[in-house]
């Protein structure tokens, strides 16, 4: 029974934390990015590349670090803690997992080293307006005509689309009738990317309109399993990011409760305030246990267990972590409601996570399919 991180994993955490504190502090760096559609700078992206982070999940023989989701989760947690904007998770987690899952070996040899080196930044365009989280029946469609493929359709909630070079679009392949993942150059003809207003200025979502955009299909087989797996991994990464933001919100609220005095005593000596802080801690520790289990399972467990763990982690994160940001604002009182104070930035990061890669309802419905309909509920009497 070992639920602990290794020394190397702790060092990775400290390294990322130190880099972000120095190169990308909340003020002025993050605040300056709130209105900036790119969400990163050459020097900060270059710093992440120097640490080898974009290639974390890429095998060593393709230029990456060959590490797993636990390490990725640690990085996501630190990025969330620092409210870091930019295309990291979109490219290094979602797009990289998608390429590794669907692309042919030669396509992987072409794309993964570039992604690992940070030369290529990519994102996945999965969801469509009006379709909720149902990605498996897209209206976007790719047509082959005389050797070239043209893709048309509308995608939304595409993370970091304004700062990438490559879009990985889930669309119907009109030739085969099945689903495919298509690579589309972000600056190609027929591609219009427009930013979406979002409550969280640190996450840059965009709408992507494709009109007969030149595309090429990655891989040949049925990609649904690989897409589902990449989305599960992204959901857990998003939950880990939120865990970092919520932990930090709790830390700053706790520090404030110790130092802020009213009625001649610290407000942290009042039970009403203490119990809020304990309630936050309770959900944080539950989230930590569930999210780190899901990160471990993503590489170590069988596919069904990976999926179950991911669904549980994101259902809990979406359902419970936003309240930690809200409670932090409550503990700060009036000052926490101001633009000047940082509390709202943590809350907004958590609200952004709430609906990314499936909201609570979507994951609870999936969990009901697993736990209520599955074999789990049947043999209560025999208990196996």
């Amino acid at each position: 029974m070992n639920f602990e991180l290794t020394e190397a994993q702790e060092i990775l955490r400290q390294t990322v934390r130190r880099f972000l504190a120095e190169a990308a502090p909340l003020s002025p760096y993050v605040r300056a990015r709130l209105e900036d559609p790119r969400g990163t700078t050459d020097s900060v992206w270059g710093g992440l590349v120097d640490l080898g982070l974009p290639g974390l999940l890429v095998p060593e023989d393709l230029g990456g670090a060959g590490l797993g989701m636990l390490e990725m989760g640690i990085v996501c947690e630190e990025l969330g803690r620092a409210l870091h904007p930019g295309p990291f998770a979109a490219s290094a987690l979602t797009a990289t997992s998608l390429v590794a899952g669907v692309a042919s070996p030669s396509e992987q040899r072409e794309l993964l080293p570039a992604l690992a080196a940070g030369r290529l930044v990519a994102t996945a365009a999965v969801y469509e307006p009006g379709a909720g989280y149902d990605w498996a029946r897209p209206r976007a469609a790719a047509e082959s005509r005389s050797g070239s493929v043209a893709l048309s359709g509308v995608k939304h909630l595409v993370p970091a689309a304004l700062s990438v070079e490559l879009l990985l679009v889930v669309a119907r392949d009109t030739g085969s009738g099945g689903l495919g993942v298509f690579a589309v150059e972000r600056h190609a003809e027929g591609v219009v990317v427009s930013p979406t207003e979002s409550v969280d200025g640190t996450r840059k979502l965009a709408r992507v309109e494709l009109t007969r955009a030149p595309a090429r299909r990655l891989g040949t087989g049925d990609p649904r399993g690989a897409i589902a797996a990449a989305l599960d991994r992204s959901a857990v990464g998003s939950a880990a990011d939120a865990l970092g933001a919520a932990m930090r919100a709790h830390e700053i609220a706790l520090a404030y409760a110790r130092e802020r005095t009213q009625f001649d005593r610290p407000i942290g000596s009042f039970q009403a305030v203490q119990h809020l802080l304990v309630d936050m801690l309770q959900d944080l520790e539950l989230a930590r246990a569930g999210i780190y289990y899901a990160l471990w399972a993503a590489d170590a467990a069988d596919p069904a267990e990976r999926h179950r763990a991911a669904v549980m982690a994101k259902a809990f994160a979406s359902g419970r972590l936003p309240a930690i940001g809200a409670t932090a604002i409550q503990i700060f009182g009036g000052i926490g409601f101001t633009w000047e104070h940082d509390a709202h930035l943590f809350y907004k990061r958590l609200l952004g996570m709430e609906t990314s890669y499936g909201d609570e309802r979507c994951h609870l419905d999936e969990l009901a399919r697993i736990a209520v309909d599955g074999p789990w509920g049947v043999d209560a009497a025999t208990g196996s």
Binding site: S269, A289, L364, A368
Partner: protein
């Protein structure tokens, strides 16, 4: 990370599994705990407990010299998992084994160890604790029951309350004030009291479920032999707070029963007709059940992290939080059962569970007191009232 158990623990599991297959006769299965058992059930429980004890499975955390296996925390978890899997009945003497025995082992005389530990382990004698009083609940150290030395005896007067197993116990670990002039934690002594002594009156406390789950104990000029004193005079507080160093398996296995109950509720929801379909087909019931399932699974993962912290020497807050999460989840099970089953949940086990679950946020330290303690010890906030 690695969620497997060490080979030694798996060996223990296999040994216990085989022993349970051979010895857990159908007549023992599904017995309620001694707290709720009728007389007949109690004797069956005693028979099972002796079988378990004589095979060395009743108190595996105890030192070998007292009939234990010196099992570590992981082995204790494996033991609880196997007992749950086989649906073996609960132990007859849970309070004695985990709370009273450690104090006797550490502070008792040889004669006391000799006299009490073996019989306690076999369930020959059921033990209760006489700690809480009507005016000393969360603030236990303000207790007032008094013992005055008179020759070879202590003369005990006072009242105790919330005595689990008090109505069936043969012996009681009793906290009494022996020095009224000392500060409140210092003037307390611990006595091991034979419950058949004249002057002891036991009155059942009927709880909101209608069951006699606890007792009240009244002591009127009870003459307790002086050799009943456990540990030094006036140091009963320290004696009573003794726990077995490695006795941490209990908190780490609270999830077993919670998850079994959630499985049962899901099975019941699938088997209950509501309207045109099954209770488990309703969209909002499904989300309630899924959220509940999630709570049970995360309680297990929190317990696993607590366990890992103990094994690897990492001090974390998970252990302190487990009781809070456990009590909330137990209460939520009962609430969801009512919502999902509707009128079918109005009587029977789910109705009882709904009433009984109110005790979980009170017993063993109320939720509010626990939050105060966590705020101070884990978060380092100032003491509050």
């Amino acid at each position: 990370m690695d969620f497997s158990y060490p080979a030694a623990a798996e060996d223990l599991r296999a040994e216990l599994h085989a022993w349970l297959d051979a010895n857990l006769a159908p007549r023992f299965r599904g017995l309620a705990s001694a707290i709720a058992a009728e007389r007949e059930g109690l004797e069956l429980l005693r028979e099972w407990n002796r079988l378990l004890a004589d095979a060395g499975w009743a108190a595996i955390a105890w030192p070998r010299e007292y009939g234990g296996r010196e099992a570590g925390v992981i082995e204790q978890v494996v033991w609880a998992e196997e007992m749950d899997r086989a649906q073996a009945p609960p132990l007859l003497n849970p309070i004695g084994l985990s709370n009273i025995a450690p104090a006797i082992m550490q502070h008792g005389s040889d004669a006391q160890k000799q006299r009490f530990l073996g019989r306690m382990r076999r369930g020959d004698d059921i033990w209760c604790q006489g700690f809480s009083e009507p005016d000393a609940g969360s603030d236990l150290a303000s207790l007032r029951a008094a013992a005055v030395r008179d020759g070879d005896h202590f003369v005990v007067n006072g009242q105790k309350v919330w005595n689990t197993l008090g109505n069936v116990a043969a012996w009681c670990e009793l906290l009494v004030r022996t020095d009224p002039a000392a500060p409140k934690h210092r003037g307390i002594s611990c006595l091991l009291v034979d419950m058949s002594l004249p002057g002891i009156e036991v009155k059942p406390i009927v709880t909101i479920t209608g069951e006699a789950e606890f007792a009240e104990l009244f002591f009127t000029d009870v003459r307790v032999p002086a050799d009943a004193l456990l540990g030094p005079l006036h140091e009963g507080w320290r004696v009573a707070m003794t726990t077995l160093n490695n006795e941490r398996g209990g908190v780490a296995t609270l999830h077993l029963q919670v998850r079994r109950r959630i499985r049962q509720l899901i099975a019941d929801a699938r088997g209950t007709r509501r309207g045109d379909g099954r209770a488990a087909d309703d969209a909002s019931a499904r989300r309630d059940l899924a959220r509940l399932y999630l709570a049970g699974e995360f309680l297990k993962l929190l317990s696993d992290r607590a366990l890992s912290g103990v094994v690897h020497g990492r001090a974390g807050p998970e252990g302190s939080l487990t009781k809070l999460v456990w009590s909330e989840t137990e209460q939520e099970i009962a609430e969801v059962a009512a919502r999902v089953l509707g009128p079918d949940g109005l009587d029977g086990p789910w109705a009882r569970a709904r009433l009984h679950s109110r005790s979980y946020s009170i017993a063993g330290g109320t939720t509010q007191v626990n939050k105060n303690i966590i705020a101070q010890r884990v978060l380092g906030l100032p003491r509050s009232y």
